[in-house]
Assembly symmetry: C2
Homo-oligomer: 202 residues x 2
């Protein structure tokens, strides 16, 4: 079912799929957003596209490569989202992570080594964040800006994780607005990351 009438532009049910690679990441992503759908399965994805289980292997070395591609695409969304509401980036990101948690999980936990695209997306995203810090906090020292950006990025990632895992239990929503406060504090404090503390060991 639902296999024959959806190939748009190129259309008529042909042997070749048209643009399977792109369709795989798109469908994969929406499958990830599916609420009930347990965990991701390459086969199920293939099935949902009306294609044989081994077809995806023509486009991705293995399942992880596909996941990495999806994650990379996720970062693009995150970057785009930033343009929407400047100023509350932190909150916006936390909400994004909560809404698309499985995708988010991939974005933050897949090793960068899994895909060049993923690594690129990550550095691009971080660069965006640094830019925001420089602009909104007037931070002119680039290294400091990086540190602040990383601190905020970490805060966001951790917050999403804590909320999603239920580690915050009741507090949950009450704590959300605090994320921006934290970010603000992190940004505004000039001395953040004063590197005079020696590395703890190793």
């Amino acid at each position: 079912m639902a296999k024959s009438n959806k190939n748009s532009t190129r259309s008529n049910d042909t042997y070749h799929h048209g643009d399977l690679r792109a369709e795989l990441v798109r469908a994969g992503r929406s499958l990830l957003d599916e609420p009930g759908s347990g965990d991701f399965s390459l086969r199920e994805l293939a099935r949902s596209l009306g294609v044989s289980p081994s077809a995806p292997y023509r486009h991705f070395a293995d399942a992880n490569a596909l996941l990495a591609a999806i994650a990379a695409e996720g970062y693009q969304s995150a970057i785009a989202l930033r343009e929407a509401d400047i100023g509350e980036v932190a909150t916006a990101l936390v909400q994004f992570g909560a809404r698309h948690y499985p995708l988010w999980q991939l974005m933050v936990s897949l090793p960068s080594s899994a895909s060049d695209a993923l690594e690129a997306a990550r550095t691009e995203f971080l660069a965006e964040l640094v830019g925001i810090v420089e602009r909104t906090a007037g931070e002119r020292d680039p290294e400091l800006a990086i540190r602040k950006a990383v601190a905020i990025w970490a805060e966001v990632v951790g917050m999403v994780q804590l909320r999603a895992s239920g580690a915050l239990a009741l507090l949950d929503d009450a704590l959300l607005p605090a994320v921006d406060a934290v970010a603000e504090v992190l940004v505004s404090r000039r001395r953040l990351g004063a590197a005079d503390a020696p590395p703890p060991e190793s």
Copy 2:
């Protein structure tokens, strides 16, 4: 191999294993720490204990329940670790997370609903953190202390994640000492979490 000479008190290779449940979490945890060993498998774990694949199901409803038990035990270690070096808790936690990343991953990503023990361990851990904030920062307002503790906890979780995924690439080690600086900032700032900002939207 390595199956016959270790059951201490109850000893001699009997049909019953002695204390399988405990052995499962212990072995499971050390299997998680194994560097090369891909991903966790109940069957492999059973094999390594010289026990049938279905034996673990006598003690845990399913694989997730075992994982949850292991994660809960992980929190105990994290708490114990705190007693070691007061003051640099944040760094210590980040290092713990890095060293035992797969375990850490479980600790922060398994849903609290997976196990009562896990949920309990989490609230206990958070309480510890709050206590530390109250003590070292002299924070007397309990609600504020909670917010600060959560902020630090999130920062730590995020930092571990970013480092492990390789999102920080080169910066990596250079950024580690900054974690404490961030924590310090978060702790010392009085106005953190001023709740006059309205929640961004539902």
